[in-house]
C-alpha cells in the first residue's frame, strides 16, 4: 500500500520546463503564466505532446525510405564514377579495411535512426495504452534516445566536407545526392519528436490506478 507519489501536478503546481522553478497554479491564476524566474511560458505537460510526437514520427518513418534508397554522394575520379547510398558508404569503408570507422558510421547512420524511431514509437504506444510495467526502464530508454539522436549528423557533415574539399574537376570531384536531404530531414525530425515527447506521461498514472 503505497500512497500516490507527490508530484508537482498533485501539489497543483507546475515545474518550469526551462529553469525548473516550482510555481503554484495559484500564482499563475493571480499573476501570470510566465515563469517568475526565467520568463518562459509555464505548462504542466508539454503541449499536445502525443499528437505532435505521432505526427513527427510518421513523417520521419516516411522520409526514412528516400533517405536510404537515393544516393547521398557521387565521386567522379578519372572519368570513373561511384555513387553511394548511406549503407553503401558503410560497405565501402568495410571493403577498404577501415573497420572502426565503418562501425562508427553504421551505428550513427543506420542503427541510431531506426532505433530512435522504434524506441519513440514504443514509448508513445505504451503511454497511449496506459502501460504500467517497467516505468523506470522506459524513462531510461527515453533519456538514451534523446541523447543519441544528434550523432546521426556525422554523415551529413562528412558529405559537406567532401564536397567542399574534393573539387579538382577531372581529377576528382564529389557531389551530394538527393538522399542527403531526406537523411538530414529524418535526423532533425526525430530530434524534434524526442523533444516533443513528454517523459512525465510515462509516470502520470502511477499510484492512481494501482491501489484501486
Amino acid at each position: 500500500m503505497s500512497a500516490a507519489p507527490v508530484t508537482a501536478k498533485s501539489l497543483d503546481a507546475i515545474s518550469c520546463h526551462v529553469c525548473g522553478l516550482l510555481v503554484s497554479n495559484r500564482y499563475i491564476r493571480e499573476h501570470s503564466d510566465e515563469c517568475p524566474r526565467c520568463a518562459a511560458a509555464l505548462h504542466s505537460r508539454k503541449i499536445n505532446s502525443m499528437t505532435r510526437t505521432w505526427a513527427l514520427l510518421i513523417a520521419a518513418a516516411v522520409l526514412y525510405i528516400p533517405a536510404n534508397v537515393y544516393p547521398v554522394l557521387t565521386l567522379v575520379s578519372f572519368g570513373q564514377s561511384t555513387t553511394n547510398t548511406i549503407m553503401g558508404g558503410v560497405i565501402e569503408l568495410v571493403g577498404s579495411g577501415q573497420l572502426v570507422i565503418a562501425i562508427i558510421v553504421f551505428v550513427a547512420s543506420v542503427f541510431v535512426p531506426i532505433f530512435k524511431i522504434a524506441a519513440l514509437l514504443f514509448l508513445v504506444i505504451s503511454v497511449q495504452f496506459g502501460m504500467k510495467a517497467r516505468r523506470r526502464e522506459r524513462a531510461l530508454l527515453y533519456r538514451f534516445t534523446e541523447f543519441i539522436g544528434r550523432w546521426s549528423m556525422i554523415d551529413i557533415f562528412m558529405i559537406s566536407i567532401l564536397i567542399a574539399l574534393v573539387k579538382l574537376q577531372a581529377l576528382a570531384t564529389v557531389t551530394a545526392g538527393p538522399g542527403a536531404i531526406a537523411f538530414a530531414a529524418v535526423v532533425i525530425i526525430t530530434m524534434f519528436a524526442a523533444m516533443t515527447f513528454d517523459p512525465r506521461l510515462i509516470w502520470d498514472e502511477e499510484g492512481e490506478n494501482d491501489d484501486g
Binding site: 507527490v6 508530484t7 508537482a8 501539489l11 503546481a13 515545474s15 520546463h17 526551462v18 529553469c19 525548473g20 522553478l21 516550482l22 510555481v23 503554484s24 495559484r26 500564482y27 517568475p36 524566474r37 526565467c38 520568463a39 565501402e92 569503408l93 577498404s96 570507422i101 562508427i104 558510421v105 550513427a108 516505468r135 523506470r136 524513462a139 527515453y142 544528434r150 550523432w151 549528423m153 556525422i154 554523415d155 551529413i156 557533415f157 562528412m158 559537406s160 566536407i161 567532401l162 564536397i163 567542399a164 574539399l165 574534393v166 573539387k167 579538382l168 576528382a172 557531389t175 551530394a176 542527403a180 538530414a184 532533425i188 530530434m191 523533444m195 517523459p199 512525465r200 510515462i202 509516470w203
Partner: protein
C-alpha cells in the same frame, strides 16, 4: 520533506524534469550530484567556482573558435593539385550545389549555434563576474537551453575524421592548423556546459540584483 501547500513559487523544492516527482533541494557538497529517486534523472550538480570556471572555458572556446575559422581544416592533394577547406566551406558547398536546405542546417549546427553558445555564455557570465546585471539574463539563459541540442561541433569533429579516412584511400590528405583549434574549441565548450551550475547562476543573479 513536507511542503507548504500555500506556496506561490519556491526553489527549496523541485520537481523532476522527467517524471514530475517533487524533491526537497538538499545542500550537497561541491562535486556531488543528486538524481531523481523515482526515474533516475539528473536533478542537480554542484561545482566548485562553477560560474568562474564556465566563464574561463567559454573565453577559451571563443579564442579557439576564431582560430578555427582562420586556417584550413584539411588539405587534399592529388597529382600535384591541392585543395583546402575552411570550417564554413561545407555549408557554402551545399548551398552552391543547390542543396540550400542542407547548407543552412550545416551552417547553423557547425558555425552559428556553437558561436552563439559561447557568446551568450560570455555576455552572461562576464558582467556577473564584474558584479553587473547582464543585458537580458532571462532571455540569455533560455536561449542557452534551447541552443544546446543544435550546436553540433563535437559531431562535426567525427564527420571530419570519417571524411579524412575516406579520402586517404585515393589521395594525400593532411590535417590543417584549424582542426586542432576546432577540437580544443569543442573541448572548452563541453567543459563550460559541464561546469555551469544553473542554480548557482540564478542565486548569483539574485545577489547582484539585490
Amino acid at each position: 520533506m513536507a511542503i507548504d501547500q500555500d506556496f506561490t513559487y519556491t526553489d527549496a523544492f523541485l520537481a523532476c524534469p522527467e517524471c514530475d516527482l517533487v524533491h526537497a533541494v538538499p545542500s550537497i557538497r561541491e562535486g556531488e550530484q543528486g538524481r531523481c529517486t523515482r526515474c533516475g534523472a539528473l536533478l542537480y550538480v554542484r561545482h566548485k567556482n562553477s560560474l568562474d570556471r564556465a566563464l574561463a572555458f567559454a573565453l577559451t572556446g571563443l579564442m579557439f573558435f576564431i582560430l578555427a575559422n582562420m586556417f584550413p581544416l584539411l588539405t587534399f592533394e592529388m597529382e600535384g593539385v591541392s585543395q583546402s577547406n575552411r570550417l564554413i566551406d561545407g555549408a557554402i558547398a551545399f548551398w552552391k550545389a543547390g542543396y540550400w536546405e542542407l547548407g543552412i542546417v550545416v551552417f547553423v549546427s557547425s558555425v552559428v549555434a556553437p558561436l552563439m553558445v559561447l557568446l551568450v555564455l560570455i555576455t552572461l557570465l562576464l558582467p556577473m563576474r564584474l558584479n553587473r546585471v547582464p543585458p537580458s539574463p532571462q532571455l540569455q539563459i533560455r536561449t542557452l537551453n534551447h541552443l544546446r541540442p543544435w550546436a553540433m561541433s563535437e559531431i562535426f569533429v567525427l564527420g571530419i575524421i570519417v571524411a579524412f579516412v575516406k579520402l586517404q584511400d585515393f589521395a594525400d590528405v593532411s590535417v590543417g592548423l584549424s582542426l586542432f583549434a576546432f577540437v580544443l574549441m569543442v573541448a572548452a565548450t563541453v567543459m563550460a556546459y559541464l561546469t555551469l551550475d544553473e542554480d548557482a547562476l540564478w542565486s548569483r543573479l539574485r545577489e547582484i540584483k539585490a
